[in-house]
Chain length 234, copies 2
């Protein structure tokens, strides 16, 4: 057993396809890819300066992970239906309380500090009325605690519906009245995590999800036209 050269990464260098996939996933999770953007393998390949193969690889993988949908005309965001959104709220109520409970028991001080930073950013943005910043900070907060989930399988299950959650989030964020609710929800969660209080954390996230569903339904009601677009897409 020779450790002479230090094994660096366990798997050596990540492949181009992997790199592209990670980058695209980041964009998807940051909401940088819109509902009617089309991702075409040749374009992606050109952007990353590689051939179609790694690009195709990344795209197909994202499809399989549920982040994209393969059409005969490129790869697009999956059209989320109203029904599906409600289904995902159901899923979230099943998974996320347990997840934050585990996080409360496992999270480290630096991660807690990071979450606190996100929270402060979100507060600041709210005071400024800057929806964009608020959105980003809240997203970082969410990604932060999801990253801290010690059960990798559970974490993965939650991350699968992240993009759909993003889409819904974007919708509800449009009403600034929701911003304080979101900040307060996150603050309550953070406080519970800081106290390592698994029960309180689970309660808070559950309430938060219900609150999110309520806000979503309100947004849909206030904006029927936009919802009908998800069906017509025109």
């Amino acid at each position: 057993m020779r450790f002479a050269v230090a094994p660096d990464q366990p798997t050596g260098a990540p492949s181009q396809g992997q790199i592209i996939r990670d980058e695209l996933l980041g964009r998807l999770q940051r909401g940088e890819i819109g509902i009617d953007d089309r991702l075409v393998d040749t374009a992606v390949a050109a952007e990353f300066g590689v051939s179609r193969m790694p690009a195709r690889d990344a795209l197909k993988r994202l499809v399989h992970e549920g982040y994209l949908e393969a059409t005969t005309r490129g790869f697009m965001l999956p059209r989320v239906t109203h029904r599906e959104i409600l289904e995902i709220f159901d899923l979230r109520r099943l998974l996320e309380p347990r997840a934050v409970a585990l996080v409360a028991q496992a999270i480290g001080t630096p991660q807690l500090a990071m979450l606190e930073k996100c929270l402060a950013d979100a507060r600041h943005a709210t005071r400024l009325g800057n929806t964009e910043l608020m959105f980003k900070a809240s997203e970082r907060f969410r990604n932060g605690w999801i990253d801290a989930i010690p059960n990798a399988s559970l974490k993965q299950a939650i991350q699968r519906y992240m993009t759909q959650v993003q889409a819904v989030r974007m919708l509800t964020f449009r009403d600034p009245a929701n911003h304080p609710l979101i900040v307060d929800g996150n603050a309550a969660l953070h406080e519970a995590l800081a106290r390592r209080d698994a029960v309180a954390a689970a309660d808070h996230i559950l309430r938060f999800v219900y609150e999110g569903e309520r806000a979503y339904l309100a947004a849909v009601k206030a904006d029927l036209k936009h919802m009908s677009q998800t069906a017509k897409s025109a």
Copy 2:
């Protein structure tokens, strides 16, 4: 609209990669691929009479689905870690009770009959002591109720870890003492579903998962040598 040549599948023809993937998945699920078999893209491609690309496609997809593991020297069965298996039991306890509860409210008579058939098959196989048949029947039963989950997102989340469940299942099935427990658990679940009793169904599946975890831990204990192979792999 010309149906002269018969359009075969509604979605056009499935790609070669898809075909290969399905066939390989069948072999994997039938246990026809051993722990130290290596699947190499060129060999697979040659067998199916195509180029490397569709074969690679199928292999990579199976990797992503968790059925295979990519090594620097071909694709092999994944070494599932003990930790991962326990994580999945945790996930199952979160998701499956709700899933069967929804099934209890939504399942139709023909599907119920199908489940009953699987149950009868499993009973028969148990009496015969035929592990193989018993395994198949139990698998059909499980796939049957999973198919009936009305919440598509939840269904998908459950299906994601099906392979790992299969692997564990394979392990616990080796002890015939577990067979009656499995049949009884399935029978109890079926009975609850037949009565459209969501609460009882959820209780039964929860108990069933706990029972499965117990059986798994017992199997590991009884078979430490095999488990240590997952680390050494030699």
